[in-house]
Amino acid sequence: MELLCIRQWISGLLPTWLSAWCIKPVGGALVRQEPEYILLALMGSPLKKIMLCSSEKEIFSVEEQVMVQHSVIINNMIEDGSYNHEESKIPLDCVDSKTLKKVIDYCTHHTHHHNDNQEDLEAWDAQFLNVDSNGLYDLLMAANYLEIRNLLDLIYGTIKNMIKGKKIDEIRRIFNIKDHGFTPEEEEQNRKEYPHFY
């Protein structure tokens, strides 16, 4: 039976108040939440899941819908059919377990809490990014690899705020830049010309 027919049949089974609940804002547009998922969730069946494999060969199971919504790379993989639900797992060799767990955490929260007001989401994001700089870089590289637009914007914004308004010595400390690459003469010249930067 065609998937569309199945969906229509299930929509027919749902009471109208529940159908209305199926509409969720995703990325600024209103998107119909697939009714069969709602029904399946109500019936207690598990939602479709995919397996992600970290560089440390640890497997993470996550709702397909969550990752598809956020990661362009994973969305493309599922859409072009290269991912087989029964057998495969998606290998993410450049993302370690700790970071992958966090990324999944971010995507899951943002999918399920999309209806929350802006302030709550921002507060959660701030708490989420309360990590040390190395953790932040790992998140940035993972988000870049998986092409998760909103997480990337969030991290770039945070790093930008770490830079804004700080003196050069402080910036070097924050980013652990021990060897700045200037010759001693160049460094002295800079300090002379722009003492207020340092």
């Binding site: 070097r172 830049i177 021990k178 930067f197």
Partner: protein, 418 residues
């Protein structure tokens, strides 16, 4: 297991951002930093310096910037120059630092007369007496001076004084050549019109008399040109000639054309001036009767039907210290839709800025009291609408075309062991 983790952490801790993040991500981070912080970041490390100094970086940053920094540069009759960061004017914390004295390039101990002419892509064109144009990027500090003495010697009685003696002048960028151009239309001593073009890339003047298919006329046009979309625009002197058109010179095609102003402008009894607002051509006219300012914005370039009208009228809520006769001069757009204007420029006491929304309602009014500003300790050195010139420009890090050329020359010299 713990020991191994600890050691890994220590190794990790000793690594810098350069070791961990790939170059392309550091590049993107820097592209997202607002411009005013970038010059400082060049001193952080050699790598950042190289990334930021790259001319393609400046170009990308210009296009990526969602909130360009608008700065108004004033030069008074004593050649004192001040820049005002317009967004900072209305920001409570930064208000005091919004106005800064700047030192002009090519300034000698003697007070040469400097005037602001126009601006384009972060560069400001200045006129320096007796007969020089100076192009200057206030953010990077790079500047260049070129003489126009040949225009002077062609002219009447050798008292060719910019900008009054020029029929037209303008400053723009030709993307097809990656060149910054200055155009000047003038009359020689036989009343013959000439059109000259200065290329900053080649540092030479080109004669474009052939582009003048019909005479421009001595005073048919407001001489200051505005650069937009690869062309320079001038408005007609509406009251004087009863002609309501905008003259356009395309820098790539090197030809003139005209478009017309909205019909309603023909009914105005007060002069109408051309300016740029939010990246669009705009006109404003201050109506003395009724104390209103009419603003027309051409939302779609060269589409006549897209002329949109805004009216700013003096409301009841405006502070009483502003006199009844005062007029506003619109400057730029802030926060994507609010109009910022200079208010009552001839005031002897204050430098006033006002911000309006698109319905013409006053949102904010901020001023700088000349008497309390350090720069104006000598009470004669304030601004007056006679003798002070100004322009609004958006900051950029772009280099002059010749700067890149010189760098290549230096590299070659080093290679040849010179």
């Amino acid at each position: 297991m713990e020991k191994k983790e600890q050691q890994q952490d220590e190794n990790y801790k000793s690594k810098s951002i350069h070791d961990i993040l790939p170059l392309e991500l550091i590049h993107i981070i820097l592209l997202r930093v607002p411009l005013k912080h970038l010059s400082r970041l060049k001193c952080v490390s050699k790598l950042w310096n190289t990334l930021i100094s790259d001319p393609h970086f400046a170009e990308s940053h210009l296009h990526l910037s969602t909130a360009p920094t608008h700065v108004c540069l004033f030069i008074n009759e004593y050649s004192q120059a001040f820049s005002v960061d317009i967004d900072a004017v209305f920001d409570g914390y930064k208000h005091a630092t919004a106005i800064k004295e700047v030192s002009l390039p090519f300034k000698m101990k003697r007070r040469y007369n400097f005037e602001v002419m126009c601006s384009c892509r972060g560069f400001v064109l200045l006129h320096r007496a007796p007969h020089f144009f100076v192009v200057w990027n206030p953010v990077t500090g790079s500047s260049k001076r070129v003489s126009y003495s040949h225009i002077v010697s062609r002219c009447n009685r050798k008292c060719f004084k910019f900008p009054g003696s020029a029929i037209l002048y303008g400053f723009g960028y030709d993307a097809s050549q990656d060149d910054y151009l200055v155009v000047v239309a003038s009359q020689d001593m036989h009343d013959q019109e000439h059109f000259d073009c200065l290329s900053f890339k080649t540092n030479s003047w080109i004669n474009l008399d052939s582009a003048l298919s019909k005479p421009l006329g001595r005073s048919n046009w407001e001489s200051r040109g505005f650069f937009l979309n690869g062309a320079i625009h001038w408005s007609s002197r509406t009251l004087r000639v009863r002609d309501y058109s905008i003259l356009i010179f395309d820098l790539k095609e090197r030809s003139f054309s005209t478009i017309s102003m909205p019909e309603q402008v023909m009914g105005y009894v007060d002069p109408t001036y051309l300016f740029l607002l939010g990246g669009c051509l705009a006109l404003y006219s201050y109506r003395t009767k009724g104390n209103k300012t009419n603003i027309w914005v051409m939302k779609e370039y060269k589409v006549h039907s897209s002329w949109t009208f805004y009216e700013i009228s003096r409301g009841q809520s405006e502070p009483l210290c502003i006199s009844n006769e005062s007029y506003i001069e619109p400057l730029c757009i802030s926060n994507e839709s609010d109009i910022v204007a200079l208010y009552d420029f001839c005031s002897r006491l204050f430098l006033n800025f006002t911000k309006y929304n698109t319905r013409g309602e006053l949102l904010q009014y901020k001023y700088f009291d000349y008497r309390h500003l350090e720069h104006f300790k000598d009470r004669y050195h304030w601004f007056s609408d006679y003798g002070t010139s100004y322009t609004v420009y958006t900051q950029s890090l772009l280099p002059l075309p010749s700067d890149i050329k010189d760098k290549d020359k230096d590299k070659k010299k080093k290679k040849n062991g010179m």
